[in-house]
Amino acid sequence: MQMQSVYGNRAARQALQTMPQSAPLQLKAAKINSWRGAHMRKFSKMQDPVTMQDNYVVEEDKMVGPKITGKDEVEDLGIMDATREWVMIKFSGIEGFVRRDKLEQAGMQTSRTRLKEAKANSSWGTGKSYEQEDSVDAFGENSGSALSWMKTSPEGIANSFEKQAEAAKSDNEKAKAERQGAGASTATGAVDAVSGIFGGLVALRRTVQSYRDANLSGMDKFKEVAGNALETADNGKTAFVGGATLVDSAAKASGHADGVGKSDAVSGWSGSVGEAIDSVKSTFNAVLHIVKLVDKALGKEGASKREVADSLMASASNLMQGAYSGVKTAKAILKIVDTSGAHKAASTALGTAIPAIGIAVSAIKITIKAYDIVKAELNNHQMRKLKKDTKFKENNVDKDYFKKRSIKLFGKTLHSSVATDTDKLRARRKELEGNTSRTEDEEKELKGIIEYEFYHELQQINRKRTKRAGLQIAFEMVSIAGDVATLSGAGAMVGAPLKAVASGLSVTTLIARKAKQYGRDRAAQAGAWWITKKMFDGEKSSEEKFKLRARHADTILKMIADLPEYDDSDPVQQQYKNVENVVRAAGCDPKALYRLNGDIEKQRELLIKALAERE
């Protein structure tokens, strides 16, 4: 059964035949560079009777070998399992599988380290110059990366990063232990016009399950799976539980013993279509009500009357508990229908079949964002109440982790403040923590730093969350037709950013059009200025093309070298993900690039070849 879902179609099968899954690629030293380390898993090997290929199946529950820390070096054997989520490595003489994303990041991190070193000791080099005979070899020099279908889609990358972020977050979520409210109503009313949008949701849920089980192998594969799911009964893995109401299931899902991280909100969701819509609508209204309440509390009148503000906020807080389970449901639905992000391929197909789904998505996103804003505001409010001693900053302003920041222009200082250098603060804390014999002053300093860091971080997050979520809400309005916008009744939210986004965009695209037009017009005229002619001619010599590719290759390497030190924070993970996407978009398999870590020349060549291939 498993194999059937793995080798779903002929194309996949054929491609797999040429993929040397069982032939070990170059043995390369690698690192598990995750602060959590890793533990190898046991595996079993089977031969596919059809393709005669070796298949590896990872037994996720069975650990083998010693625990690997973030500092240990392992050997990357380069063999992947059937799901393509695990890679075989060797550590301490034992072979086992670890999650691919744990190694992949090591690849990018090692690239970064080596490139930074090269920059520092001037061994960056300038690359080979153009050679007349520069023939572009088939890009399949490194076995295993020849076939384009094997290059993991951006969705795959998003998934792997997302998973790691989720794993880290789940610990925090468990600790928070938010109460599952029973407030959101789930009146099973008649299905109204909006329900048409959700019509395909049921089928898609099954599809997503199958989609996740199978290889991520692109649109065609998905369409086939979707077709099967819609037509035939499920294959046992995607049992569809009918009858339970939406909110109950959502509550169950969020009360799942494994916590938010492990339990899949999608698998917990079941219920009728009518219930789905009603629940989202109720949640939407409930959250809107709360937003208005909070607005009032924080508004000009509220702020001056402390008690009124506090009690309004308290009501809002209670209501939030009730809205929580509804928002969770909305998030689950969003995961399914979102046409951007990790599940793009899945929902894009649905989107074309049901055009109005984009509107539904935006409405859901707004609900969630509004909830986030309110949550952030409530946190801020509570934090102000718990205001701790802020003297730490004043007493330590001359230490190097507080930096005086001034904005200067034309010789005048426009603004100055004392900003926190979080990197230096963290470094100092680590230094103090590492020092086992601290003086009393150092002890005080360490305690002060830990407390300060905590509140500083909370403040930053909340501040950003509020603003960012607000921006996102406004942006969502851009993509919604007038009807749904009025549904929210929040005309005030639609305003400056909405208009400006549309304006800014239209101007940008206009410039591009005009510039091209002007160039063509000028070039067409007799006696046209020679630069114009050259610029818009489009003809470029091979040498010029090569130089351009070489520059791009260097820029990509530079982007990697400029990456910050890897950690599991969102912004850093996002940056790593973005840069890896650039590599991918250039037509280069990141794994192939990482294998050449330490050899800039080869990496440069690889990138240049990839770029040439793309043209």
Partner: protein, 173 residues
């Protein structure tokens, strides 16, 4: 049409710039390209203006391919001035905007048919390199400074509290 590679580069660069802006206190967000948005956009929230109205600064790369532009890229800075348009002031505003434009270090002001006033600057950056962060931040600071300088007289002339002649004079001397 620009290639996926170019789009991916833009996104990666925006990621870096976003962090710079965040650190400087201008909360920023990236709106990734999608069916509704043909380009990636970086959005920063500026301080609200004197009347508490929200202001935003949008960054987009002008979508020209390398066939068209080889050595440089064009990064557009764009901000809408949240001033309530009064159609009866159109001639005055055109005169004022022209006067201010003459004195701006970078960028220019413009007004659309529907009365939306914007401040726009198209910044040239190298195509063969990543964007220098400190340089970028200094340009952003300049942009905001110009924006702030222009906003007050625009508001005053629109409301009629200052005559266009008087407001323009400051920029012409």
């Amino acid at each position: 049409m620009i290639s996926d590679f170019v789009h991916a580069r833009h996104l990666a660069e925006f990621g870096v710039l976003k962090n710079e802006l965040d650190q400087a206190g201008l909360t920023a967000t990236i709106i990734e390209k999608s069916d509704e948005m043909p380009l990636h956009m970086l959005l920063a929230a500026l301080e609200p203006d004197g009347d508490g109205r929200e202001r935003f600064l949008h960054f987009t790369f002008v979508p020209l391919s390398e066939e068209e532009l080889e050595q440089i890229r064009l990064l557009q800075f764009f901000s809408v001035i949240p001033c309530e348009w009064d159609e009866s002031r159109r001639m005055d505003m055109l005169q004022l905007l022209n006067a201010i434009n003459g004195s701006l270090a970078i960028g220019h002001l413009g007004v659309r048919e529907d009365g939306e006033i914007h401040f726009r600057y198209v910044h040239c950056v190298s195509n063969g390199d990543t964007i220098r962060r400190e340089e970028f931040m200094e340009v952003v600071t300049m942009f905001v400074l110009m924006l702030d300088m222009a906003s007050e007289p625009i508001e005053q002339v629109m409301k009629g509290t200052v005559s266009v002649a008087e407001a323009s004079a400051k920029f012409l001397e």
